[in-house]
């Protein structure tokens, strides 16, 4: 595709429910990142994939959060037993590689609201 695509663009869910957020990266990009952005804050790192494997998941806040990228392309961020504090914009980004001259391309984000 032309850019990083995230679906849904908006998601409202009830406290305690399970949600899945999808990210479709730019074709051929091996690196994929998930970030969370709360109001008034910068993007906060959650997890980074290199290919199919999670190269760094140190930003996941707790075990309710999990992400997969089974075929090295599309990724799904999964949140179990959602809490009101999970409400934020979840951003996905992808890059061709990592290291020098890496440019991350961002999606529009999924705005998650837990009521």
């Amino acid at each position: 595709g032309a850019g990083v695509s995230q679906t849904p663009s908006n998601k409202v869910t009830e406290k305690g429910k399970y949600v899945e957020l999808r990210c479709d990266p730019i074709s051929g990009h091996t690196a994929l990142y998930w970030y969370r952005q709360s109001l008034g804050q910068g993007p906060e790192f959650l997890i980074y994939f290199q290919g199919t494997g999670a190269a760094d998941d140190s930003g996941l806040p707790n075990d309710r959060f999990f992400a997969v990228r089974p075929e090295g392309s599309v990724s799904t961020l999964k949140i179990q037993r959602t809490e009101r504090g999970d409400s934020a914009v979840y951003l996905c980004a992808s890059s061709l590689t990592t290291g020098e001259n890496t440019e991350a391309f961002f999606g529009q984000g999924t705005r998650l609201t837990v009521v």
Binding site: G42, D56, S58, G99, N101, A104, G107, G109
Partner: protein, 110 residues
């Protein structure tokens, strides 16, 4: 620990005036520094990176390792520059992921 600090949450300047958005960082090693911009209702996008030493839309940023700063500058602000600006760093010691500052909202007053 890696950290990016943008001390100004809000910055307003008049059209045609110079603008400087401050960014300081903390990093053990040689980081790559970036400025990302988010215009209203658009996605976050790369503005410039220190390694390219380029000027984009009239903006420049110089990496000052002594002061651990990467301030963004433009000599003459334009109305279309109004946006949210994020300073970010990346590097091998950060696992190649990006650390972002909290952002500065720039408003250029006509």
């Amino acid at each position: 620990a890696q950290r990016v600090t943008q001390p100004e949450k809000l910055l307003s300047v008049f059209k045609g005036a110079p603008v400087e958005l401050k960014c300081n960082y903390s990093y053990s090693g040689s980081p790559e520094l970036f400025w990302y911009v988010q215009y209203s209702r658009q996605r976050l996008q790369l503005l410039l990176r220190h390694i390219s030493r380029e000027s984009i839309k009239g903006f420049t940023a110089d990496l000052n390792k002594g002061e651990t700063s990467f301030h963004l500058k433009k000599p003459f602000a334009q109305e279309e520059d109004s946006a949210m600006y994020y300073c970010a760093l990346s590097g091998q010691r950060s696992g190649n992921q990006f650390y972002f500052g909290t952002g500065t909202s720039l408003t250029v007053i006509p």
